[in-house]
Structures are given as structure tokens and as C-alpha cells.
């Protein structure tokens, strides 16, 4: 089973990298971009076959180290 953890700065926390990308897109005349948020994606290959167990485990990983929940939110999906 593979878990995908997406990590982004929380809404309301200014994202300097997202902002810089937005400026670059504007400068390249890509119109219609309202906002850009930059995050990171961590892909975990797991031995578990039970999604519920795996979700609990990955949530703990996200809380303990993968994300800094003072400034970041995360989502977990399985494929």
C-alpha cells in the first residue's frame, strides 16, 4: 500500500514561495491565477494491507515529524 502525504502551509500563513511563483506566472503573462500555494509531497510505501491501521500510523508520522502543525496542514491519501 502506498500513502501520499501532502503538506501545505495553513491558510492564513503567508507562503513566500507560493507568492514568488505567483509573481513569476504573472510576469510570464499566465493570466487568471488567483493564488499559488507551494507544498511538499511525501510518498510512503507501506507493508500494511489494512488501510485503517495504516491511516492511523501515517497520521501519527505526520503529526510527529512530517508536518509542523504550528504552520502546516496535511492530507493523507492511499493508492
Amino acid at each position: 500500500m502506498t500513502a501520499i502525504v501532502n503538506i501545505f502551509l495553513k491558510q492564513g500563513v503567508l507562503d513566500p514561495q507560493g507568492k514568488a511563483i505567483h509573481h513569476a506566472l504573472d510576469a510570464m503573462n499566465f493570466e487568471g491565477v488567483e493564488d499559488v500555494r507551494m507544498g511538499k509531497q511525501i510518498i510512503l510505501k507501506l507493508t500494511s494491507t489494512n488501510e485503517n491501521d495504516a491511516r492511523a500510523e501515517v497520521e501519527k508520522m505526520a503529526e510527529d515529524i512530517l508536518a509542523n502543525t504550528v504552520i502546516e496542514d496535511y492530507t493523507i491519501e492511499f493508492i
Partner: protein, 224 residues
């Protein structure tokens, strides 16, 4: 004579400057490798120095918090021992939750390396006791992730408890935007005022001939 314990992670690069600084102030020092599990028994102060622990992978300071020595550091801090985190050390102390808030990428995305004037906001603590309130100090900064973030509620608490140590300012003490930090904060301490963190490098400001000696009175406060 005070004994200073200086932590060393893979990627730490200010350990020797820190050792030099405290030895200049007549302290003895031990550099402790992160794989150790015990601190020297005569430790009077732990310094988590600057650098790029674990290459800043994941987030600055994120991986270092799980080094074996950190358990002993947390126990030392929680029993009232003094801990100072400089630059990457500040990032590590926020990641571990010993200090409030977090440090994000600088607002302009650049690594900033220069002398910077700072205003002393609160001196009711060991670290800045030798400095005057509102005094302007000249200390080098060198960081890419120094953009201090804290939510509004926690900020109010920080302000009320006099936990804000320093703000980036112009030479008259007026706060200025350097890296996007909330209200230009450059350093904070915990509620019980035994854990200190700042992005500027006092250990690099010890000689007038090299630009400033304002770092001396900061470090002296911790060993008074």
C-alpha cells in the same frame, strides 16, 4: 567557572565559533556529538548552535529533534536548566516545542547574511540582563528560514509575559521588515525564561575590529 555544553549535529557549523566565544568569556566548554545520550554533569548552559543540521532536510531543525542527545536536553530544560538556541538552534528548539512559534522561509526567499541592528525588547531575563531595554545592538544574521510565525493568541501571551527578546530594527530602534517575522521578532524565550532562541549570531560579534562586540554582553548574561 561556568561550563557550557555545545551540541553538534551533522551539518552544525557554528560549534567552534560558540566554543571560542564562551572560552573568551572564561568558561569551559564541551562539544557533545548528537549520538550521545548524556550531558556533562557540570553543565551550566546548553547551546544549540547554528548551521544546517541534517542539511535542513524536511524543514530546518526538524530531523535534529530526534537525535539521541535531545532527550537529555529536554529533561535538562524542563528541570529549569538554561538552553540557548542560535539560528538553526532556534529552529530546532521551536520544532521540539521548547519554544513557541515556528520559523518559515524568509519573505524575499533569499539567504540573508549581514550585520543587522536589533532592538532589545525585554531584558527581564538572564540572557539580556546585561543589555538595556530599548538598546540597539549590532549583530550578524545569516539565515534563509528566519521568518518567525506565531498565531495571534499565542502572540498576545508572548507579549504579556515579556517573552519577546529582540526585534529587527533600524539604528534608531524602529522595527523594520527583514525576513517577514511577525512584528519583526528576532528572538524569544519560553514562559519560565530559561530557554532562549534567536536568529542573529551573538557569537560572531565579539571583536570591534570584526564589526561589533555587542555579542559579549548578550552571552555574558547567561553566565553571570
Amino acid at each position: 567557572m561556568k561550563h557550557i555544553t555545545i551540541l553538534q549535529f551533522p551539518g552544525t557549523n557554528c560549534d567552534l565559533d560558540t566554543k571560542y566565544a564562551f572560552e573568551k568569556l572564561n568558561c569551559t566548554t564541551t562539544i557533545v556529538w548528537h549520538k550521545e545520550t548524556k550531558l556533562p554533569e557540570n553543565t551550566d548552559l546548553i547551546v544549540v548552535p547554528g548551521g544546517f543540521s541534517y542539511g535542513d532536510y524536511l524543514r530546518s531543525g526538524a530531523i535534529a529533534q530526534f537525535s539521541p542527545i535531545m532527550k537529555a536536553v529536554i529533561a535538562y530544560a524542563n528541570s529549569g536548566g538554561k538552553v540557548l538556541g542560535i539560528c538553526n538552534g532556534f529552529q530546532i528548539l521551536t520544532e521540539i516545542g521548547l519554544l513557541p512559534g515556528a520559523l518559515k522561509r524568509n519573505i524575499g526567499l533569499h539567504f540573508i547574511s549581514k550585520f543587522q541592528t536589533l532592538k532589545v525588547i525585554n531584558n527581564t531575563n538572564d540572557f539580556l540582563q546585561k543589555c538595556n531595554k530599548d538598546e540597539v545592538l549590532n549583530i550578524p544574521i545569516a539565515h534563509a528560514d528566519g521568518n518567525y510565525y506565531i498565531d495571534e493568541e499565542a502572540f498576545k501571551e508572548l507579549e504579556a509575559n515579556e517573552q519577546i527578546l529582540l526585534r529587527y530594527s533600524d539604528e534608531h530602534g524602529e522595527p523594520i521588515v527583514i525576513n517577514g517575522s511577525v512584528t519583526s521578532i528576532a528572538g524569544v524565550c519560553n514562559k519560565t525564561k530559561n530557554i532562549f532562541g534567536l536568529m542573529p549570531h551573538p557569537e560572531r560579534a565579539l571583536e570591534t575590529i570584526l564589526g561589533s562586540e555587542d555579542g559579549i554582553k548578550m552571552l555574558e548574561g547567561l553566565i553571570a
